[in-house]
């Protein structure tokens, strides 16, 4: 909560805002390190830790984007700070789980969740740049957000591939007919449309950016909505 408050204060902008963001990142980083020390492993196996990691890395991504971007992008905070706070606040609703299932103790599971976290961060940063591009029309933003989305889609693909391998080794199946899997595929195909749309003359520019930013809403729904709004019972054997 302390980190979220500091991220919120970061919206004030300027040098003070930047200090608040750095302080929030420090508090958040300490929380993650403490969780890792308690668990004795990388804390990316349970929802609370996954959401916390996404939130933390979105802020890291914000700072890197600001440094790498050729043009000043003060407005990026207006998208990424609230987005990061949403992830951090939603983590509060989950109980900390300090044990791990035996079938999760495999590098494939860590790769699956690791790439999943990375895809949320990269696609989230890309979507924020898309929203900015739609508002400002700055051409360098268009190129950056496309590159970020491509990286994010690759991370999403690697997450699906490693997740399929893990699920096969754990439960003997690399595909399940559940709403969760169908939504995972839906989001992946949607981003496939987005990446192909860059090749179609009429879809370049703002239509492509709009398609990309809507994709992130689908990704968020697949994570928070499926299960809560669309029942998808966990099936193993």
């Amino acid at each position: 909560m302390g980190a979220v408050t500091l991220y919120g204060l970061g919206l004030t902008g300027g040098r003070a805002g930047r200090r608040f963001i750095h302080a929030g990142l420090l508090v958040h980083g300490i929380f993650i390190v403490k969780r890792a020390a308690l668990l004795g492993r990388l804390p990316i196996t349970e929802r609370l830790d996954i959401l916390s990691a996404i939130s933390f890395l979105l802020i890291v991504s914000l700072l890197i984007s600001k440094r790498k971007q050729a043009l000043p992008v003060p407005a990026l905070e207006r998208y990424l700070l609230p987005l990061s706070s949403v992830f951090a606040l939603s983590a509060v609703f989950y109980e900390p789980i300090n044990t791990i299932s035996q079938n999760m103790q495999t590098p494939w599971f860590y790769m699956h969740t690791g790439f999943n976290i990375l895809s949320f961060v990269l696609l989230g940063t890309g979507a924020s740049m898309e929203a900015l591009y739609l508002k400002s029309g700055e051409e360098p933003l268009y190129e950056s957000r496309h590159r970020l989305t491509l990286w994010g889609w690759t991370a999403l693909s690697l997450s699906l591939i490693s997740g399929s391998i893990w699920f096969f080794l754990a439960y003997g199946s690399y595909w399940q007919w559940t709403a969760t899997e169908l939504w995972g595929s839906l989001v992946w195909f949607y981003y496939g449309i987005y990446l192909h749309s860059g090749q179609v003359k009429g879809l370049r520019g703002w239509p492509s950016a709009a398609i990309g930013s809507f994709g992130y809403l689908l990704l968020l729904f697949s994570y928070f909505g499926v299960g809560a709004l669309i029942p998808s019972p966990w099936t193993q054997f």
Partner: protein, 234 residues
């Protein structure tokens, strides 16, 4: 026809149609849990032959669309190979080939995979008359664990003509495999008597899907290294 199949607009249209079927499925399954309860344990094509069309229509739609996407993918690969092969043009056909392998894997899994289930104690053997490899359970270990709550392990031997040929060790998340037969632990308990429920499985589609995933990942990584975001498709 070839031009139509390799068109980016065709790909976008096909992907959009696939989205509609994925969405329909995600809404239909939760409303008909009983009808779909056995779909993940059965061969898909066998399940479809017994399912009511009102529940399964979207799977037929999805299979059709994925079939056309596979055709279009083959056309894209051929189209890419027709031109001058350069490093810059390499990722797209590699990614498409990976996708093709994944689709082939799914087709094989849906049509010819095999699953058998056994509940065995120490000393019990499982024979399947050639459907899968035979095996014997020697030891079932179940003990409390601070990190994973309960540690489970099954030890035994793979059998050939009744004789032991290879040691077998199965843990949750770490199945044993021998000559294409995979063995998974479904459950293992010591009380009232030591018993383990194991699944023996043959899935000729899994290696294709795995290879497809690897090829796909390779194509993606090449694409990223090139740094040419716009050259995704043929």
């Amino acid at each position: 026809m070839f031009r139509l199949l390799t068109s980016v607009k065709t790909q976008i249209g096909l992907f959009a149609m696939a989205l509609v079927f994925f969405l329909a499925g995600s809404l239909i399954i939760p409303g008909r849990m009983e009808e779909f309860s056995g779909i993940n344990d059965a061969l898909l094509l066998g399940w479809l032959s017994e399912a009511r069309p009102s529940a399964s229509w979207w799977i037929y739609g999805l299979i059709t669309i994925l079939g056309v996407i596979a055709l279009s993918t083959v056309a894209c690969i051929l189209d890419a190979l027709r031109g001058t092969v350069s490093f810059k043009a390499l990722p797209a056909p590699i990614i498409h080939t990976g996708m093709l392998f994944v689709l082939l894997g799914h087709l094989l899994t849906a049509s010819v995979s095999l699953r058998l289930e056994y509940t065995l104690g120490p000393g019990d053997s499982a024979y399947s008359s050639g459907a899968a490899e035979d095996f014997r359970v020697d030891e079932i270990i179940v003990r409390p664990d601070a990190v994973i709550e309960t540690y489970r392990e099954v030890r035994g031997q793979w059998l050939k003509g009744g004789a032991a040929v290879k040691p077998m060790l199965i843990k949750p998340g770490a199945p044993a495999s021998y000559h294409g037969t995979w063995l998974f632990i479904k459950s293992a308990d010591l009380l009232p008597s030591p018993k383990a429920t194991l699944r023996a499985q043959r899935d000729p589609g899994a290696p294709f899907a795995l290879a497809g995933g690897g090829i796909f990942a390779l194509g993606c990584i090449l694409l990223l290294f090139q740094g040419r975001a716009g050259r995704m498709v043929s």
